[in-house]
Point group: C2
Chain length 223, copies 2
Amino acid sequence: MDEKEKIEFLSQYDDFWSHLSREEKEYACRNTEVVSYHPGQNIHSADTRCIGVLFVKSGCLRVYIMSEEGKEVTLYRISPGEVCILSASCVLSEITFDVYVDAEDYSQAVVLNAYAFAKLIENNIYVENFSNKMKAIRFSDVMWTMQQILFFSFDKRLAIFLYEELIKNGPIIRYSHMEIAKYLGSAREVVSRMLKYFENEGIVKVSRKEIEIIDKKKLMDRL
Amino acid sequence: MDEKEKIEFLSQYDDFWSHLSREEKEYACRNTEVVSYHPGQNIHSADTRCIGVLFVKSGCLRVYIMSEEGKEVTLYRISPGEVCILSASCVLSEITFDVYVDAEDYSQAVVLNAYAFAKLIENNIYVENFSNKMKAIRFSDVMWTMQQILFFSFDKRLAIFLYEELIKNGPIIRYSHMEIAKYLGSAREVVSRMLKYFENEGIVKVSRKEIEIIDKKKLMDRL
């Protein structure tokens, strides 16, 4: 990605880019680099150096928390065209918690380093507002997840997950039971048990490698 | 509260007030009123008219979510000098969820109505940023609560609650088991059972009206 392509890419993020002065744009460009991540790679955690803001170009990032015992709860996913703000948590004064960020697929991002981002925030109220707005969006995502976990019974949560996959990628689902469990903040056995139950109800067909949704109507009755 | 007192009070909120023009200050004053709430009164919910931003003057507000079955989970509390932003959710574009806000004690707030707040946001980037910053602070609060609920075993959570009360108000705790359950997003029976367990361990003494912490060291061992 040359300078011109970088500028073209970043100018998509209108809330951020359009409010920078010419000097700030140059400064931002000098302090960004294109980074690639392989599937499963950890990008950010409480223990690693805080890298900065990720403008996601391709792939998918997963943001999650983890208990001391290693239990993971997925908070949200970040798609191309979106921003990963919490990977700059060290320079965000209102953020007092830390999360993990992993690449879920092969992913590319334009990374603006944390120091430069902090400098821009300090001198440009629009950048500060952009940063706070990105947090607010993720606040909404997290509230959605929290309500799912706390209030919905597990059959409903699994049904919602399957239904969303059906809409996005069609009736064949290739996630492992373990991956689904992680996504739903549950355990593999719980997912396997509920899938077996759904299979008995004629909603899905479960094989070793995939889950096939065979009755959309029955699935929707579970939502 | 006359005009002068109102201005004096609002000027505490420096991030907000100091960036308003003279006209905006006048506009804000014209659109605020002092409101009193009695203990237990509902101030905001998904079903009520969205009232606006509350600058809390006295008392304590509780922000929580509720499931369809009526299960409550407290997200955070708001003290004097702080701001209740989610009561203006109808004019906050990044907020896609809704919460309940109740007065916990007798409380007073200076309320800037939602329409006027939206107008100020529209025309003043500093107000927009103030609004987004307030959300970011509550995002951190919610993340803390979420980790408590999802990751900490209940004995630890109850111990933390008792310890915080001990620090704030001394060894006599006058919350009912039901109130503690609501606060911890649990059930009354679970609280009663764990308190009984703590009593057997010599940590607390439980009577009908109050809970007394009798061994601080033992309590701290549970944190």
